[in-house]
Symmetry: C2
DNA sequence: TCAAGAATAGAACGACCGTGCTTTTATGGC
DNA sequence: GCCATAAAAGCACGGTCGTTCTATTCTTGA
């Protein structure tokens, strides 16, 4: 790998971290350059525009997603184990140390309205692929007899992904509201919810989904 | 209402629309002033800092949320009807015409990492209140015998909200990927998903949740 | 080893950001 | 209808944004 490619990929690593926190739009060339130990123009030379930088970040994230989530799971046994592996890998992905702000795709989807059209299109493509992968794994699980035949695989994939994304959002909401929050006075007997709680409850929800998806005679 | 209060609230209305699209952080004083037909400094005088503007936007959104979602639903009959009303009102809320970018809270939660601490704290407070309201309504439904006694109300509230937020994100992801997207070639037989589809599937998921929550003898 | 070319730095640009200060204009109670 | 006061505009500031152009330093293959 040539020197240029090397720094470019190092920059993208930093950029992913930054984007996961402040969003794709919030990644600033100046700040990114400083963090990466480059001058603004030195960094800029690698990407010839901000849009192309954003596309580069997204592409790098997609590559890592495939390597860390999709590929290992596809090596698992067909059927329920593979579906479970996909979800387990995603949960690990969502708290990867290289994305301190959580899953970069969730952030990007939330800010989709003001993304450059090309970036938005690529994001949609990637998410549809991911959804399709999930649905396909579920269909295979149906064929294997692990899940009910009359199950709607698309529906289940969508539910499971929604639960994951929703819990991810809510978990981060609480993670960043530590004991420093001004007044703990009000709100007397409030629903107990810590980030760890939320993760456990996501597990519970998915477990229930899986149980419901099993053939009747297996329940 | 004095003139100042009048324009202030008009500005906040515009600001909510803007924030739902570009996020709280993306709301710029200059752009907002232009949209509202004011000069930058004229608008700035109403809020003495950007942080206080953001807090004002959030507070106004919370007020509207209570008026449009919480209050009407609490007038519904105790039990399942009230829970259903809350969810129905939320779905209407999420596509209110005054929030062209979708639910402002979902956007805000996604960008929570880089919100001013005070704004973040208020957002957390509001979301916990909302979650609590939902859980409480579910508990009442249990007392009324509409839902199983051994149900975990917090768990169900979290699941339902996660599904709503997750579907909201994914629905918007597709809504903004109209027929203009460059290449429709690849990805041959892809899972059929339009925004309307997604909303219908959210309904299906919630219906299933409700059915599972009913006492066994009612199923 | 040395030159060709890649990689980076430096300085500058116009535009917009949030925020103060001063001045002008509109409002509303007497 | 006048006038104290509220509301809005005008203007200027230091900073940062993305981007361009030029100059310098480093890589690398013959």
């Amino acid at each position: 790998m040539t020197k240029g490619e090397e720094t470019r990929s190092a920059v993208l690593g930093e950029a992913i971290a930054q984007a996961s926190v402040v969003g794709l739009r919030g990644v600033t060339i100046g700040t990114l350059a400083t963090k990466a130990g480059l001058s603004k123009s030195g960094l800029f030379a690698h990407f010839r525009s901000k849009e192309s930088l954003q596309l580069g970040i997204l592409e790098e994230a997609i590559t890592r997603f495939i390597a860390l989530v999709i590929a290992p799971s596809l090596k698992e046994a067909r059927g329920k184990p593979r579906v479970a592996a996909l979800l387990g890998a995603w949960k690990r992905w969502a708290r990867s140390e290289f994305m301190p702000g959580g899953c970069i795709f969730v952030s990007a989807i939330a800010e989709i309205d003001d993304l450059e059209p090309a970036v938005r299109a690529r994001l949609v493509e990637a998410q549809l692929d991911w959804l399709d992968t999930l649905a396909q794994a579920i269909r295979i699980a149906q064929d294997e007899g692990h899940f009910r035949k009359d199950l709607d695989a698309t529906q289940m994939a969508l539910e499971v992904l929604s639960l994951a994304y929703g819990h991810h959002l809510l978990g981060r909401l609480l993670r960043l509201s530590g004991p420093g929050s001004s007044e703990r006075t009000r709100a007397p007997r409030r629903t107990s919810l810590s980030p760890a709680e939320i993760e456990a409850r996501l597990d519970r929800a998915i477990t229930r989904l899986f149980r419901d998806a099993q053939p009747r005679d297996a329940r």
